[in-house]
């Protein structure tokens, strides 16, 4: 069953299109990573799915219903980000208790245990917490709510590295014990990739790739060697990325669908073939130019 279905989903703010006719489905009980650069439209997309924003055209269905202003979707969805606003007059402990009353599957014991583990002060107010502590608190609510659709937009921003690791581990254990559909947005794919089953990569409001993390890791190969040899080899092959890496050396990234013969040719040309990490593939695919940042400094 698909929990989220988008067809030609489009969102405009005034005249600028933030989401361009995006179509995809997210299956039940999978962890999907929503990956994209700053300003790619991740947050807008998530807010539309969570029912916080109207879409402009196309179609979006969450639990088979339009999420905007929808009680069924609200009751079964939690959206965690670092702009969550909580009542100023309630302490953290009171906030936890109140939050619990909104969600049917709320696990208060888990919330308290995580609260203790991450050394949050029950009498503190949300507004007085540091950015990392706010993220931690919000994430505890996200985990304890046990919502069938759990959306987390950059949940670890501001957290220190130990807390991030703990949080991801907690998320995995919770997911194994109580499977649910999770969408996790991040610009640090390296950090979350082991947790994910699928990746939805977006670039400038458009869907770039939607595949399993294992296919993404196999998506591309890199070739490194003398510039003229690399040039010779990639002639007629579409490159994802091309970069000078020093005196007369180049590095090119192409889709991993070359024939054995072509790979053999590369070897004959003295080129080294390497795998490309999922993080690198995403950053090359979402880069404006094929030369990356080096292109900016290349005035020659």
């Amino acid at each position: 069953m698909n929990v989220v279905v988008c067809n030609n989903l489009t969102k405009q703010y005034g005249r600028s299109k933030v989401i361009h006719s995006m179509s995809f489905q997210l299956a039940e009980n999978k962890i999907t990573g929503l990956i994209g650069r700053n300003g790619a439209g991740k947050t807008t997309l998530l807010k539309i799915i969570a029912g916080y924003l109207h879409h402009s055209s196309g179609d979006v269905q969450v639990f088979s219903e339009n999420p905007f202003n929808n009680l069924k979707v609200s009751a079964n969805t939690i959206f965690i980000d670092n702009e969550m606003s909580f009542s100023q007059g309630l302490t953290l402990k009171e906030l936890l208790e109140t939050a619990g009353s909104f969600y049917q599957n709320w696990d208060h014991d888990l919330a308290l245990r995580l609260f203790d583990y991450f050394s949050l002060d029950p009498k503190q107010f949300h507004g007085n917490l540091s950015k990392g502590m706010q993220s931690t608190f919000n994430s505890i609510i996200g985990l304890a709510a046990r919502c069938p659709l759990t959306i987390m937009d950059e949940p670890t921003s501001g957290m220190d590295s130990g807390t991030r690791k703990d949080f991801y581990r907690a998320l995995l254990k919770e997911y194994i014990a109580h499977p649910r559909t999770i969408i996790l947005s991040s610009h640090l794919l390296d950090e979350v990739e082991d947790l994910l089953e699928d990746v939805l990569l977006i670039k400038s409001g458009e869907k770039c790739l939607h595949l399993s993390i294992d296919s993404l890791r196999d998506y591309a190969i890199g070739v490194r060697g003398k510039t003229e040899k690399v040039q010779e080899w990639i002639d007629r092959i579409e490159t994802i990325h091309l970069q000078d890496i020093g005196a007369n050396l180049s590095y090119a990234v192409v889709k991993n669908d070359r024939s054995i013969k072509e790979l053999e040719d590369a070897r004959q040309l003295g080129l080294e073939i390497t795998s490309v990490s999922a993080e690198d593939i995403c950053s090359y695919l979402t880069s404006k130019t094929k030369g990356g940042i080096d292109h900016v400094f290349n005035r020659g």
Binding site: I176, I221, E272, T274
Partner: protein, 128 residues
């Protein structure tokens, strides 16, 4: 393979190799139940789907067999299969390298075979 050997192995391959090692050193015995994909996911801190892929690799090679509703179990001849598989893949890689180098050095096949025969003979004599 043509892809560099030093490049990182996918996690599901690492998981299946780890399970193979557990079987080889008899931590998990024949006809014993292996870890579920959820246990492996927790142990390796990965998505259960990834762990499941590691288990499936071994099922495809008949190292593991499925008991309906009970999980995956170690096949009676699992150790032999693993040893044979590793022998094959290791030798294949080496032979591949060897043949490639020979072609590059313009060593003809007869010469290469003679070299292998001689070396093989020598090692046997040394061990005798």
């Amino acid at each position: 393979m043509l892809i560099n050997a030093d490049s990182m192995k996918p996690i599901y391959v690492q998981i299946s190799e780890w399970l193979e090692n557990e079987i080889l050193n008899e931590t998990i015995q024949a006809d014993e139940k292996v870890y579920s994909q959820y246990q492996l996911a927790e142990m390796f801190n990965v998505n259960p789907a990834t762990a499941g892929k590691g288990i499936n690799l071994l099922a495809d090679d008949n190292v593991l067999y499925k008991k309906r509703g009970l999980g995956m179990f170690v096949a009676a001849d699992a150790r032999e299969i693993i040893l044979r598989k590793r022998k094959n893949s290791k030798l294949n890689t080496l032979v591949n390298e060897l043949a490639r180098e020979a072609v590059q050095l313009q060593v003809e096949v007869d010469e290469l075979v003679t070299m292998i025969k001689d070396t093989h003979q020598k090692i046997k004599e040394e061990q005798a």
